[in-house]
Amino acid sequence: MRLLTHNMLSSNIKGVANGFPLRIEVEKVVEKEVEINHDFLRNIFPKIDWKALSDASRIMGYHELPEEPPEPSVLEADIEFLRKFHHALLELHLEEGALLCPESGRKFPVNKGIPNMLLLEDEV
């Protein structure tokens, strides 16, 4: 699971009001290089919760993203920033670990890169 997906996932347990962002427990992170696409990064930027992404990237061992969201103009001009954004969003994979509901602490395991968000009957 990449941080793009982490940024789109919330705890789905019945009754949880603030299920985002899920806390990350890291056992293993892998990095896989993918080709950078500036248009994609500019298009996806407005949908990204910056704090969730920058916090998650630090937990995954990457410390290059600023804590505060950048001005949109940075996305137009700053190639170096785009590279860092790209790396955090699309190249870091949580291979083994877990996602924790920020409210209930319920643990969603991540094995072989795949989060298991299936709920028990009394959680639906």
């Binding site: 997906t5 996932l9 248009d39 994609f40 996806i44 072989k112 298991n116 968000m117």
Partner: protein, 259 residues
């Protein structure tokens, strides 16, 4: 000209995972036949709900290929074996989508709302007794309850929530599912639809339907309420006068070619 799709020989498999069959092939054929428009559409986020063997999502990624302008893909399945098989199928083809083991899009609905530009679904559409719906393993790939509509009727509101303003949905249905009623239902939510591929096999008659948001239809279905709500007053007036000028207010002249 032919485009790359997933190769059957490279597909992974598992006894509890539905293997690609006529329905999967028909869906991929529909996507292939609309490939030119998909390229022009430039989807940013693409998704498959219920990826099964991974045949469809892998084919989609391959056919959009390097020209996909960095589009990213997410796929879900309720069956953990299907997720594993999809991962192996994708790896064998050298493509990547983020996979999530979840029911329809549970956990993604709030943050992904209004963000998916391209959604593909081959739902469990086979009419079965209601108690077979929601069972584990391969049954989840086909058991559709009464008229095969139980899961489809859960998927449609989720699709409506996830699709962006310019989002497209391609979905497999069976005649028994009453596709025309599904289209009418989606029309009320502001979607135009078109049957893309119609294919009869010995066992079933399949329709692949494409849905897309149609502003005209939305205005029509809601008597313009949506437009008025969405825009500040000054703009509303100009929108309204424009709408009246284009004369689909009454709903009789939508296809006059001026829009």
């Amino acid at each position: 000209m032919s485009y790359k799709i997933a190769q059957i020989l490279l597909l992974s498999s598992h006894p509890e995972v539905y293997e690609p069959c006529d329905d999967s092939f028909a869906l991929v054929d529909a996507l292939l036949s609309d490939r030119k428009h998909l390229m022009e559409h430039k989807p940013v986020l693409c998704m498959e709900m219920g990826c099964g063997s991974g045949y469809v999502i892998t084919s989609l990624m391959l056919m959009l290929g390097d020209e996909a302008n960095g589009a990213q893909f997410i796929a879900t399945d309720i069956n953990p074996h299907a997720i594993t098989v999809t991962r192996e199928t994708m790896e064998a083809h050298g493509v990547h989508a983020d996979l999530i083991n979840t029911d329809i899009a549970s956990g993604l609905e709030s943050r992904l709302a209004g963000s998916i530009d391209l959604l593909v679904v081959n739902p469990p559409y086979v009419p079965t007794p209601e108690d077979e719906v929601g069972r584990e393993g391969i049954t989840s790939a086909w058991a559709g309850g009464e008229n095969g509509r139980s899961v489809i009727d859960k998927i449609l509101p989720v699709a409506d929530k996830l699709l962006s303003e310019r989002g497209w949905l391609y979905m497999v249905t069976l005649t028994t599912n009453n596709p025309s009623q599904i289209c009418r239902q989606m029309m009320k939510k502001g979607y135009a639809s078109r049957i893309f591929v119609q294919r009869s096999t010995e066992e079933e008659s399949l329709h692949i339907i494409k849905f897309w948001r149609d502003i005209d239809m939305e205005a029509d279905a809601n008597n313009g309420v949506t437009n008025r709500k969405a825009a500040p007053p000054g703009i509303v007036d100009s929108v309204r006068s424009q709408i009246q000028r284009l004369s689909f207010w009454g709903g009789s002249d939508i296809n006059n070619g001026t829009i």
